[in-house]
């Protein structure tokens, strides 16, 4: 039997009840070839320290709840493997740019509030009755927004965005991508409303094209593209006001 391999996991902890600032805890744990960072944390919670707090659900990179800074980079803990981080130590911290609620759990209220504001649903361009049948779409129309619909709301891109860190009012990369997904949908009729958000102070003009958001996105959504394409759209809208026949 080969010796079980071990790796040291360092976690930035924050326990508000203790009334102290964040501090670092270290554990050395055995790991196997197929163990993710999430499983490492679960091992710690189950056998070493039950107070360690983190979010997770699907364990398959689809629910978007296990985002954290791993080695300083925003990643999904369930999709990051301990073997790739050997010999360690593996440094784990709550997602950057969000307030820490407890240990690896961040306060996502800001994100969720903005999510509601972008109207993440289709407002039918023309209401249809049941008898009129479904709203149809061609493959080409689908292709216009499909990649942006892959977002899992994991917020990794927000931790990669210094502009969001410096100014939390910024709508940010992921939600702009989602907004763009609905605005680019041929069935939707609410884009004028959503564009108000795009134009606003907190909209796309807060972006300085750092571009790291698209690098860290686990779903290749390319939020930086959504933001920058909307800068063009916003500028065109603004100049269009001066054309004859416009308001």
């Amino acid at each position: 039997m080969p010796e079980p391999r071990t790796i040291t996991v360092e976690v930035l902890r924050y326990q508000p009840a203790k009334g102290t600032n964040p501090y670092v805890d270290r554990w050395t744990i055995p790991y196997t070839e197929d163990m993710s960072v999430l499983q490492g944390l679960q091992y710690i919670k189950d056998t070493l320290d039950g107070s360690l707090t983190f979010r997770w659900s699907c364990r398959m990179a689809i629910c978007g709840s296990c985002g954290m800074m791993i080695g300083g980079v925003p990643k999904l803990a369930c999709r990051t493997f301990l073997r790739d981080l050997a010999p360690g130590p593996v440094r784990v911290e709550a997602l950057a740019h969000f307030p820490i609620e407890r240990d690896l759990v961040v306060d996502a209220e800001d994100f969720v509030g903005k999510l509601e504001r972008i109207k993440p649903w289709i407002e039918p361009r023309e209401p249809r009755t049941l008898e009129e049948g479904p709203y149809t779409q061609t493959p080409a129309q689908l292709a216009r927004y499909e990649s942006f619909s892959h977002c899992i709301n994991c917020m990794l891109c927000y931790s990669a965005c210094p502009q969001y860190g410096l100014n939390p009012d910024f709508l940010g990369p992921g939600l702009t991508a989602l907004l763009h997904r609905y605005n680019s949908d041929s069935r939707d009729g609410a884009s004028a409303e959503r564009m108000q958000l795009v134009h606003s102070e907190e909209g796309v003009w807060s972006c300085t094209a750092v571009g790291y958001c698209s690098e860290v996105c686990p779903k290749q959504v390319d939020p930086a593209n959504a933001v920058n394409v909307n800068k063009t759209a916003s500028a065109i809208d603004w100049f269009a006001r001066f054309l004859p026949g416009k308001r």
Binding site: Y14, P16, A17, N21, P22, G72, V73, A96, H97, P99, I100, E101, D107, A160, P162, G165, L166, T208, A209, V210, G211, Y212, S214, E215, D222, A224, N225, N228, V229, K231, T232
Partner: protein, 132 residues
Amino acid sequence: MALRRTYVRSMDGWWRRDPFFIHYMAREATAVFVVAYALILLAGVIRLSQGEAAFGEWLEGLANPWSIAFHVALCAIFAYHTWSWFRIMPKTMPPVVVGGRRLPGAAITALGLAAAAIASAAFVAFVAWLAS
């Protein structure tokens, strides 16, 4: 909710946190030199409007060894700036579809860099031709 007390981490020195941010800051910093050089050229135009002698002085100033060293450094800085901007270019434009396929980002970057290289070479050739 009494125990709910979130902790906000400081953003101090954020750009040193990740190599990606350092590259970003380098791109932004090199933009300052682009502006500076535009001002130097603008000064040349103003000197030209003041007559031949004034323009001659401006040209002499450019031939100074310090100025030449500055130009060599600027050349490297501009090359970095060009490269860093074309690298981000695919993110700034809507999908380019050629023959039913989406053009990959790397191809857009390569096209941009090629266009910059050709334009620079053509300009140098033009100036050399003028000088000869």
